[in-house]
Symmetry: C2
Subunit: 363 residues, 2 copies
């Protein structure tokens, strides 16, 4: 069948590929600012956690929300010195395990607030004695209704299927809650304001040159994304963006895990993205990058210490912020822009990846 | 340079590709039997955990050891009802976070007992108040020396670089410790004996027909391995075997996470391996498999409910055992044999994957 010019004229003008995804990447500084407007809620929830002695933090979420939770492990561990874990949803929801959750805060992350097993988890966690908190973009959602307290994600409507600004706000929110719990909420808010300005400058600076950086990867079928510590969350999130928007089989690995098996799969057609931040995990990341280079892999380095990665063919540096817990807010941005540019180069629409919908109701 | 026939005659006979790897797969029932001979140590450590009130279980390890730890989350959650987590090593070792580990057991998993950051983690966990236990194949190792108690893995020397029998024994050991803690050690030992016999029969039955099943995947570059609940550990371990021995970019995913992004990357050249066990997580796995099939992916189904996966092109069933906590001991075996057969079909030596060594000293 051919399309007549009359039909073509009647059809709505085709949207530019990935334009909503790009718009939401650009909008992240504003989304961060909105989160900070609601900082009081974080102080209140932090106080309640103390009052209830609920200082083991059980986080649940899927996809980008679960990636942000990886960051939470470090935020709660480094600031108030609390144990935080990405809890198993299936243990509680499918197996109905009789876990005693007294002394715990169950913190559920869901942009839509509608992810069924996350809602069900929170209902059961409350029955098991946990203090329940929802971090969601929709304070009117089923998740918010199931929780004792709600932290507003305040990212604003996210239209692209692949998350960007909601991920960034989730990371910032977990950092802010942890800092509030440590009595450092005010200074962390200051750090987040600096991060917001830095994200704004970074998008402005990187966007015009990202297409030429992404183009050589148009036919890459697989990739590892390596990070450690607080940046492991970034590695997971960048890998997920590449998977869902660019259809690259991108797997996140901690820097050390690379050497425990996966390095054997590398060759010159299997690029490795290393997130190198200027913190105590840097030596492990540099060692992993050197190992990948030795195996012939093309290296992409990003992060505040990207320039320190020897043999990197592509360097996507970001400014250094005042704390390793602020860096992940910047480090993810080159990955988001790269995913947008690579998807566009491949003729894929990052706004609507095939087979996905914005609200995932999967079991 | 050509090799003269005289040189060829003088050279040692070339080993059959992957022969040690295969021998160790076959040896697993014996390794399990050795573990059971040491069941007393598990009762003793379980008692100490109770006496010290150290009922939050922090597990650490890399590679296959970390995969086994994924199983531990379910074993401790379902049997004594304890919270178990795969702890962040970098939080304690690199960032030196001031975590209060009183009330915790730090359980370190390392075949060799020499993984540097795992040893360092255990030293620090003890300083922070944890009860420290090493699960290792080498009771004379640095890790064993750093721990207050040692659980002998008793798998016997493992010569192939890619782990098989040490993984199986780690899974069995975590189950046995959890069962002992729940006062169910004796019946679990009975279950492990059944599992041992079933592994023996399964290897015998599957080995002769695995080559023809693996052959069509000789040029597959990427794969997802999907499992949920107790079988998520199996998904992780099968993916790691495929990565390190076959150089397939195989990524493990929970059944639900597949729908949260990665499904968008699937196409007919991107196979999906689904581990379907006859337990409460089965509906989630079947739903994920159907979603993968819809995206055009070729499906490999394994596990006790493999036959229930609609549209699976390859079905590698295993017998059903008496508990979902025993199934993972069987479910991993088809993956091990498949990895051996696929590596051999590709002319790769599963005994010595390029770039790996048996004891990994990576940071």
């Amino acid at each position: 069948m051919t399309v007549s010019s009359a039909d073509a004229a009647a059809a709505p003008a085709p949207a530019r590929l990935g334009e909503r995804f790009l718009a939401e990447i650009r909008e992240q500084p504003d989304a961060l600012a909105r989160l900070l407007d609601g900082a009081d809620a974080f102080e209140r929830v932090a106080r309640t956690i103390h009052e209830r002695g609920a200082t083991t933090i059980r986080m649940v979420g899927h996809g980008s929300s679960d990636n942000a939770a990886s960051y939470g492990v470090y935020a709660f561990g480094l600031l108030p010195g609390w144990t935080a874990l990405r809890d198993s949803i299936s243990l509680t929801v499918y197996y109905d395990a009789a876990l005693d959750m007294r002394g715990c805060t169950a913190l559920a992350l869901s942009q839509s607030g509608r992810t069924p097993d996350v809602v069900e988890y929170l209902v059961r966690a409350r029955d098991r004695g946990a203090y329940t908190v929802a971090l969601t973009n929709d304070p009117g959602s089923a998740l918010a209704a199931a929780a004792e307290d709600v932290l507003p994600l305040a990212a604003g409507p996210e239209l692209a299927v692949a998350a960007t600004k909601t991920y960034l706000n989730q990371v910032a929110a977990l950092g802010l809650l942890a800092a509030s719990a440590a009595g450092e909420g005010e200074s962390f808010v200051g750090g987040l304001r600096d991060a917001r300005d830095a994200v704004s400058r970074l998008v402005h600076e990187l966007e015009p040159r990202i297409a030429s950086l992404a183009l050589p990867f148009a036919f890459a079928g697989r990739m590892f994304v390596v990070g450690r510590g607080a940046e492991y969350a970034t590695a997971r999130e960048i890998a997920l963006k590449l998977l869902e928007t660019c259809r690259v089989a991108a797997e996140p690995l901690t820097a050390t895990d690379l050497a425990h098996g996966p390095v054997a799969a590398l060759d010159p057609l299997f690029p490795v993205w290393a997130i190198a931040s200027d913190d105590d995990t840097l030596p492990a990341v540099l060692e992993a990058a050197a190992r990948a280079r030795e195996a012939g892999a093309t290296l992409i380095a990003s992060g505040s210490a990207a320039a320190a990665v020897p043999g990197a063919a592509y360097v996507l540096g970001v400014p250094r912020l005042s704390s390793p817990l602020l860096s992940p807010l910047l480090s993810v941005v080159p990955g988001q822009l790269f995913a947008w540019a690579l998807a566009t180069a491949k003729g894929l629409d990052a706004d609507e990846p095939r087979g996905l919908s914005k609200v995932t109701l999967a079991r």
